[in-house]
Structures are given as C-alpha cells and as structure tokens.
C-alpha cells in the first residue's frame, strides 16, 4: 500500500555508526562533544568535587624533598649559585672547605681547602669562570672554576690579605668590582690588592652585603648595630640607614622589582622594605619560631625562601604575611643558608649537620618531562583549586601542613605571648592619658629610626 505522506515530511534520528566508531583499532576513539548545559547537570557540585579531589591529590603528592648532598665535614656556612650554569653549585663549610657540586648527578665535582677557619662568603663572578671566597683567616681568594690538571696543586688565582675578618662578599653584575663586608664595607677592584673605597657609618661590623641586581650601583648591608645601610657606589658616603628593634642577619634584593629588598631578622620575622619609604616596611612576614638566618628570592621575584634557626625553611609569597609552605625533616638541624635555583624549580638549603638538601620549590609538582595531557590536567587542577579556594573544606585541606611537635608547641606559645602582650598594651592604654600610648600597627612596631 502507499504510505500516507511523503518521506520528506518525516525525519527520524538515525546515526551511522561509521561516524561515531573508529575505523581501525589503531585509530583513536571518536569523542563527539555537545556543550549544551542541559546535557551537563550538576555543573557546580561536580566541579566542586573535582576541586576537592585536586586539593587532596595536591597534598598527597606533596613530596618536596629531592636529594641530600653530603660530603662536607663541618656545618655548611654558605652556598652560592653559579652565574651561568644551572647545574653547578658552590658551597663553603665551617672548616674552610669549599665544594663544587653537580646537581643533576648529585655529586661533588671538586673540593678545595680554601681557608683556615670558617668560609664566610662565596660569590661567583658574573662571567662564570671563577669565584671568590672570604674566610676567617682575613683573606679574599679568587679561584678558577676549572679544575686544575692532574697532579697540579689547587691554588687560588689571586689572594688578597685584608686587615680584619671578612664576613661577606658579593660581586658586581657586569664590572670587575666586588664588595666585601667586615668591620667596614669595602669595594674592591679585581686588579688591585687594596679596596677602592671603604664605607662605615659608626658601625663596628657588618654581617651581609648585597649588590642590587637591577640598579647595579646600589648596595645594601646589614650591620650588627641593628641597622640596614644603603650605599651608592658612585657616591662617597652611604645613602641612608634604617635602624630596627633587632639585628637583621641577611638581606636579599628582589630581582624583578629593584626597589624592594627583604631582610631576615633576629626577631623571627622577615621584613620587605621599599627603599623609597624606609620608615615602615611594606610587609612583615611572620611564621618562623626562631631567628631567621638567610633569605633568597626566586628569579621571578614573586616568592622568597627563608632559612631559620628553628630547623625549617619556609617559602613566602612576596606580598603575603604568612608562608605558603614549610619544609622540614627529622635530620635537618639549624638551617644556615638557603638559595633558590635559577630555573625557579628548586630550593637548596645548607644546614648545621653538614648536608646540603635539594627541595622542590613547588612541593607537589611532578618532575621530569610532562606530556601535553599531564600539563593540561595540572593546569586545570590548579585553576580549580584557585576557583574554590575559599570553600571551607578546600581551604582546610590546602592549608594543612605537618609541623614537628616542638615547633608547633613554640608556635602556640608565641601566639599566646603575643596575645598577652597585646592585652597588656591595651590595659596600659586604657589606664593612661588618652593619646599618650599610641596605637602602633605591626609594621610600625619594628622600626626604631631612619637616618639620612
């Protein structure tokens, strides 16, 4: 019989399997998509679940410790990065020994008995062919980075005998001058055996001096009279200094923003200063429970790492008051020095118990080559965590860090002490003449004076 209508009046869904199934088993599967929201219900709850899983996995995979370089026979006193090579690191120990390390192979390339007593500072020359060391034996020595030939004795290229003990050294970014500190801050020419210029500002000794990596003529140093002094090498006198409540141990310039530096203080805090406004620090970074001994910026200038006497290292975002990460191990003792590698991936820490430890800068990052899909998944997870970061469950998991018992105890103790101090101050204010006890912010509390 004849059907009641033409076939162009009707269409029924009919899919040809050839369009949807792969032709051979060697082909990839066909995955047609349809982004219609009605086909994807529970968008938000599912995404939230994904974010929660991503947060959990991030914590599961957070295994930051990569390697330990052992070989020194005394506590590590200083580490420096090679100016040109990512894989080379130079470290100095308290017995005067200097070691060159190859990081990917995790082995010592060379050992030099550089000084008698402590090696106080090491710096690599900008061209990467030699490095300088200073030690307790009042000498500055320049060493070749190339190992000497077989049977040839390890000899420095150049030795300068100073008048007093040197405590730190740093090299200029482009020129053949370097700066040392000790009783004075001295600027040296590589070709001369006496300093070109000496700075002192009624200070008996300095603990650290650093060149600004961007404004290369600018210098900053930490002095033992609780002050941080700024210099311009083109001028004859120091620029200005800021005196704090307690002594700063070291400082580090932000490599991206030339006017910021961060100093590691004895009062357990780190302070980021803007050199244009020294009267108040930009940020106070709190979290350590003991004196902070060293600080180093990441090459991106967005984060820095700090080493402390409390046997931990912490990573702070440059504009946040609290750390995003804390690294510790049972065996790691007081951490003396710390450096952020130039590829922004690793952190090196040298500690009292003669080991240099290599950590990942991002604890849960997967090392090695990543496939495109792995990369995409990592990006997606990162974005998810960022999107749901304020949800209580996600935040709780993301923030949790395990701390050793004694540090946790000290942390609680200090919180209590701080609260007690605050209460006491409040009571004093309540019972004294209005305005006589001013309300100081945390930033204002720690600066004693600024001297021009």
């Amino acid at each position: 019989h004849q059907s009641a209508y033409e076939s162009d009046n009707i269409k029924v869904l009919c899919r040809n399997p050839d369009d949807y199934v792969r032709e051979t088993t060697r082909d990839i599967q066909r995955v047609p998509r349809n982004y219609d929201p009605t086909l994807h219900p529970f968008e938000v709850p599912r995404e939230y679940t994904r974010a929660l899983n991503a947060t959990k996995l991030e914590r599961v995979f957070a295994k930051p410790f990569v390697a330990s370089l052992d070989g020194h026979r005394d506590g590590i006193s200083c580490i420096t990065k090679h100016a040109k090579s990512l894989s080379t690191v130079i470290s100095g120990a308290c017995d005067g020994e200097v070691k060159l390390w190859n990081l990917p192979r995790q082995e010592c390339l060379r050992t030099v008995q550089a000084h008698e007593g402590f090696v106080r500072g090491i710096c690599s020359r900008f061209c990467g062919t030699s490095f300088f060391t200073v030690g307790d034996d009042k000498t500055i020595k320049q060493w070749n980075l190339e190992a000497p030939g077989y049977g040839v004795r390890e000899e420095p290229i150049n030795t300068i005998l100073g008048k007093a003990v040197f405590t730190g050294i740093d090299h200029h970014q482009r020129e053949s001058t370097f700066v040392t500190c000790g009783q004075t801050v001295d600027i040296w020419d590589e070709q001369r055996s006496s300093p070109i210029r000496s700075f002192s500002w009624g200070v008996d000794s300095f603990s650290c001096v650093r060149y600004n990596p961007v404004e290369t003529e600018l210098l900053a140093s930490c002095a033992s009279d609780r002050s941080i002094v700024l210099y311009d090498t083109r001028e004859s006198a120091p620029l200005r200094k800021v005196i704090m409540q307690l002594r700063s141990n070291t400082l580090c310039w932000n490599p991206m923003e030339a006017y910021y530096f961060t100093c590691a203080n004895e009062d357990y805090n780190l302070y980021t200063y803007d050199i244009r406004h020294l009267d108040v620090p930009v940020t106070v970074h709190m979290d350590h429970v003991s004196a902070v001994l060293d600080v180093d910026y990441s090459p991106t200038g967005r984060e820095f790492v700090s080493a402390s006497f409390d046997k931990t290292i912490r990573i702070f975002p440059k504009d946040k008051g609290h750390s995003r990460e804390v690294y510790h191990t049972k065996r790691m003792q007081h951490v003396i020095c710390v450096r952020w590698s130039a590829d922004n991936k690793y952190v090196l820490s040298g500690s009292d118990e003669m080991n240099i430890r290599l950590w990942k800068a991002n604890a849960s990052e997967k090392l090695g080559l990543l496939s495109t899909r792995e990369k995409a998944a990592a990006h997606y997870n990162k974005k998810l965590i960022e999107k749901f970061q304020h949800h209580p469950q996600v935040r709780r998991i993301a923030r949790h860090r395990h701390l050793p018992g004694d540090i946790l105890k000290q942390k609680r103790e200090q919180r209590e002490m701080k609260e007690a101090r605050r209460r006491r101050e409040q009571n004093v204010r309540k019972h004294s003449k209005p305005g006589s006890v001013p309300l100081l912010t945390e930033k204002e509390k720690h600066v004693a004076a600024v001297v021009e």
Binding site: A4, I10, V12, N34, V44, R50
Partner: protein, 588 residues
C-alpha cells in the same frame, strides 16, 4: 572575478531584469546585517555616490591589477542571540559601586573569560553533526492519524526497525527502563519475568524469572548492573542475570529512581519509606519516613536530584536525603496523584491525577501554568529530551508537543493504541523512540523529534567501547557528588554565602541544640568553710557588677518617669478642659 559580474549587470539591465535578480551571494547577505562596522557603511555610501569611480575600479580589478580586496567578512562572525542565550549561565555579575581595584579587576577578568567560553561554546553548535527528527502532516492532515506502520515504512530500514513489539502475554504487565546511553533496555513483568536487551541490535543479554512479584526495575550507573524491586526485598543483578546482592534493608519497594551523578538509588516503599542506597559503597545513606502511606508515584528532577513523590491525597512532595521533612509540599489534584514527571531542565513538572486532569507546573516558582482535561485520565507520564510529553490513557499512548510553556495543550502530536493496560512508559535517551510496557508485552514506538540528536561522548556515549566505559566509570566515581549537596538549587555552591553572623549563630544553635557562645550560669561552689562563701561573694559581685550599665539604666528610667509624669500632667489638664460636655454651655 565572479563577484564583479552582478555589479556590471545591475548597471546595465536594471529596468529589463527587474524581477530576475542575479543569484544571491553569501557575502552580500552578511553585508546587510547590522554587524557591519561604521567605517564600512561610510565606505559604501561613498561608493554609491560616485558610481563612475566604482566602475573604474571594477575595470581595474578586471584587469587583475588590484587583487587585494577588502575583507568581505569584517570583524568576528556574528553569533545568533538565541544560541548565545543557550550557554548563558546565570546573570552577568556587575562591578559593585565603590569596589576596590583588585576586586574590580577580578570581576572584569572573570566576566571576560566566561563570555569567551560562552561564545566559543555557541560557535561550536555549528559543528554538531545531527539534526533533530520531525514529523509533519500534509495539509488538513493530523499527524496523530499516522500509524506506526506507515512511519516505519516511510523511514529508512534502520529507523524502521525501531518500531517493534514483544509479545509477552504470560508474565505481564511490564515495567521498563532504558540505560543512560540509550542502548540497553530492561523490562520486568509483574509476574517475575526480567530481561535485559541491547534493543538496537535486538541482542538478549539475559532473561530470567525471579519467581516473585516484580514491582519495578532500574538500571544502575552502567549496563553491568540493575536493581529489581521484588515482592519483599530489593535485589541487584548483573547483566548476566547473576544475583549480586539482596538488600534486606529495603523492603516492599514499589518504585525506584537512580540518581546517576550521586550514585544513589532512591526507593519508595509500600510502608511509606523513602530510602537512598549509595550504589558505589553499598550503604544506606538516608531513610525518610514520609508518613504519607503507600508510595507508588515517584519521579526525579534530573536538574537537582530532588525526588518527587505523588500521594493519594492529591499532594506532591519534594524530598532530599538531607532532610526528614519534605522540601516542598504542593497540592496538585483534587483526587490522588496518578503519575508525574519532570523535564530535564528542572523547570516544569507535569502531573496527572484521579480527577482526570493533566497539569503543568513551573517548579521554580511552584505555580500551575495550565491544565487540561483528559477523558480517560493519564496513568503514566513521560517527558522526552526534546520536550515531548507522552501520556498513557487506558490502552492508548498519546504524545503531546509544546506542552512545556504557557500555551495550553492542543490536540496530540501522535497516538498509538496497544493491547492491554499500559504499565510503564519511558523515552529512550538520544533516540526517537518511546518504550511502552503493557499487559501484552513491550512495544517500541517511533516518535520523531523525541531524542536529543547530539550526545556528549564524555558524558553518555551510546557507541562507547568497553575500554571507554571503564574509563568513564572511574572518572564518574571520582567526581561523584556527595548526597549532602542535594538541594533545590544545585548552583548554590557557587554563590556567595551572605548569611549574617546572627543567622549563622541561630542555625548553629538549632543544629547543636544549645548555644555554644552563651556564658554558663554561675554555680556557687559548695564550699563549707569560711564566712565568705562562694555564693556570698557572687552576691557581693552582683551588687557592683555592670555599674556603668546600671547608671545608664537608672538615668534612662529616671528620664522616662519624668517624661511620663509630664505627659500625665498635660493630659490631666486636657481632661479638665475636655470634661465639659456640649450641653455645659447652656448651663448657668
């Protein structure tokens, strides 16, 4: 070169060839849309003004000197507004007045990102491979008079084979369920016959008789497992018909719903219990006593996973596993509710009752949209992905078009008569097929336009291989939504929680049963020694406690009394004056 011909033609044969225009070129149309840039308009205006220059230029171009032409499609390709609207998620967030710079930047950048995503998704619509089915009658012909046999004849063989009958008169009537991908069909006869079929290849996966009454059958998350509600307990079988579990916590189950994103099997029992079984861990998540009697009308809202139950007193109640009380209770019919169904966007609910009415509700506002009278009343209802409503009235299945919306229901789009009472109705996802379970077996009916033409292979893929299914299963389990997140608004999680401190405190007090912030009452120590007992000390303290507050209170009380006094005096004076009655003036 082809682009030049019409210009020349129009300039020469305008009068003669007025009616017969040159064939339209696709770029000409785009020039007329309003997406054109203002500079372009100016340019064309200038062109119109001096045609001679145009001619010269065209001649030049003919010579092939000026091959570089302006882009005929300037700017982005326009996207139809309707298409954009489809991918709009919520309202756009405006930057609040007085927002700080960082907040402003965050809002602007996130808005820009979501707009980009929306545009790209809308653009992607062009690439979708399939179009929806349709059925149109000739002039003066109702489509509902067209029989299934005629349709099966008219369409291609593959589609035609989708209309078939299974004559199973022994163990009926039948309930049925389609799997999420639409390939697998599960039928269960009242008298114990259970079969699962790959219905497209007509491949029987398993068939058995459970030797017990079967009330309902349901696929679980994959085609590897299904649940059968038998006379007493709930049973889980695998696709070979092997009994995996007998869940004795679930008894006398009449109806079941499976929530695929939560991995929850919701069951409604004859004893009035609504229970939730987490099929991924095999645990009972919640058991709610509805206190509404026998529950044999059940449906789920696929948009927010809320369970809808229909009751003999004409009410429909909405349930989540997190609450012992119904989320919403609405009176829908004058008699008992016979059947209900919810559309896939969670906007509309369609109910039918013993009062023989078919009602459409907007369940976002809980308001009736329209109702119509069906002479026989609908015993089963089902909504398709394409928005077609099928209603079983006696032994006839009627399919309605354009039910969802404010316009009232007109005559049916399709109709089909079966032998025997209809017991189950379900549309097959991603196919133009309606499955009907009835007393004489099962019928698969072709309903053009019922199914969603384009599936998303990462979500539900009818053509997936076993490897793909395994991968999908792992991923789906990883993003299993917790039952705590079931609520009326599934997007609640992405909104800012603006509860005030007081409100939150109140909720906390309600949840805990006590006030955690309240100061505990003073209890005097039972100290026996010494005259200064704890109680006495407390009394003494009470005397001097809150002195400053007391002062204030004392002052305010004093002020108030004074004010009251003054007012009293004033009113007294007024009274004295006002006591004179109107007749007093005649008094001497």
């Amino acid at each position: 070169m082809a682009a030049l011909v019409p210009e020349v033609l129009t300039s020469t044969h305008v009068e003669k060839m007025n009616k017969k225009k040159p064939p339209k070129r696709y770029w000409e149309e785009t020039e007329n849309t309003d997406q054109r840039r203002p500079e372009e308009e100016q340019g064309t205006a200038v062109q119109n003004q001096n045609k001679s220059t145009v001619k010269e230029r065209s001649l030049k171009r003919k010579n092939g000197e000026n091959l570089e032409k302006k882009d005929p499609f300037p700017g982005e390709a326009p996207i139809p507004h309707k298409q954009l609207q489809k991918f709009q998620r919520g309202e756009k967030y405006k930057v609040p007045a007085g927002a700080r710079r960082r907040l402003k930047e965050a809002i602007i950048s996130s808005e820009a990102m979501s707009e980009l995503a929306q545009k790209q998704a809308a653009r992607y619509d062009l690439l979708l491979p399939e179009d929806a089915g349709f059925l149109e009658g000739d002039e003066d012909e109702d489509t509902n008079t067209i029989s299934q046999d005629d349709i099966a004849d008219a369409v291609d063989i593959t589609s035609g084979s989708k209309y078939f009958n299974l004559h199973l008169s022994q163990f009926g009537p039948y309930r049925l369920d389609y799997g999420r991908t639409g390939r697998h069909l599960l039928v269960g006869g009242k008298k114990g016959h259970v079969a699962c079929i790959d219905w497209q290849s007509k491949d029987l996966m398993c068939e058995m008789n459970v030797m017990e009454t079967v009330n309902d059958v349901k696929w679980l998350h994959t085609e590897a497992m299904f649940a059968v509600a038998q006379k007493r307990w709930l049973y889980i079988y695998d696709s070979k018909g092997l009994e995996l579990h007998c869940v004795k916590k679930f008894n006398d189950v009449l109806r079941m719903q499976f929530l695929p994103y939560h991995f929850l099997l919701a069951t409604a029992s004859a004893t009035g219990f609504l229970q939730y079984l987490d099929v991924s861990v095999g645990k009972e998540i919640a058991a709610v006593c509805t206190k509404m009697g026998r529950l044999d009308v059940m449906s789920q809202n696929p948009h927010n996973a809320v369970i809808h139950l229909g009751h003999p007193n004409g009410t429909v109640s909405l349930w989540s596993p997190n609450q012992k009380e119904p989320l919403v209770k609405m009176l829908c019919h004058r008699g008992a509710v016979r059947s209900l169904t919810v559309d896939k966007t969670g906007t509309y609910m369609v109910t039918s009752g013993l009062d023989r009415k078919l009602k459409v509700y907007d369940i976002r506002a809980f308001k009736p949209l329209h109702s119509c009278f069906l002479p026989a009343g609908a015993s089963c209802l089902s909504l398709s992905q394409g928005g077609l409503l099928s209603a079983a009235t006696g032994d006839i299945v009627q399919v309605y078009q354009n039910v969802l919306g404010s316009s009232p229901v007109s005559k049916p789009y399709m109709a089909h008569r079966l032998r025997g009472q209809i017991w189950g109705l379900a549309y097959c996802p991603f196919e133009d097929v309606l499955g009907i379970g009835h007393g004489e077996g099962f019928t698969s009916m072709i309903v053009p336009g019922a199914g969603e033409p384009n599936f998303d292979a990462l979500d539900t893929n009818p053509f997936r291989s076993s490897k793909q299914r395994q991968e999908w299963e792992v991923k789906a389990l990883l993003e299993k939504v917790q039952p705590e997140l079931i609520g009326l608004d599934p997007g609640q999680l992405s909104k800012v929680d603006q509860a005030s401190f007081e409100q939150r405190h109140k909720e906390q007090v309600e949840a805990l049963g006590f006030d955690p912030l309240a100061k505990d009452k003073f209890k005097p120590k039972t100290k026996k020694k010494g005259r200064s007992s704890a109680g006495a000390i407390e009394k003494r303290k009470r005397k001097v406690a809150h002195e400053d507050q007391r002062d204030e209170i004392r002052q305010t009380v004093q002020e108030r009394t004074e004010r009251d006094k003054e007012q009293k005096e004033k009113s007294n004076e007024k009274k004295k004056l006002g006591n004179k009655s109107t007749l007093d003036r005649f008094r001497k």
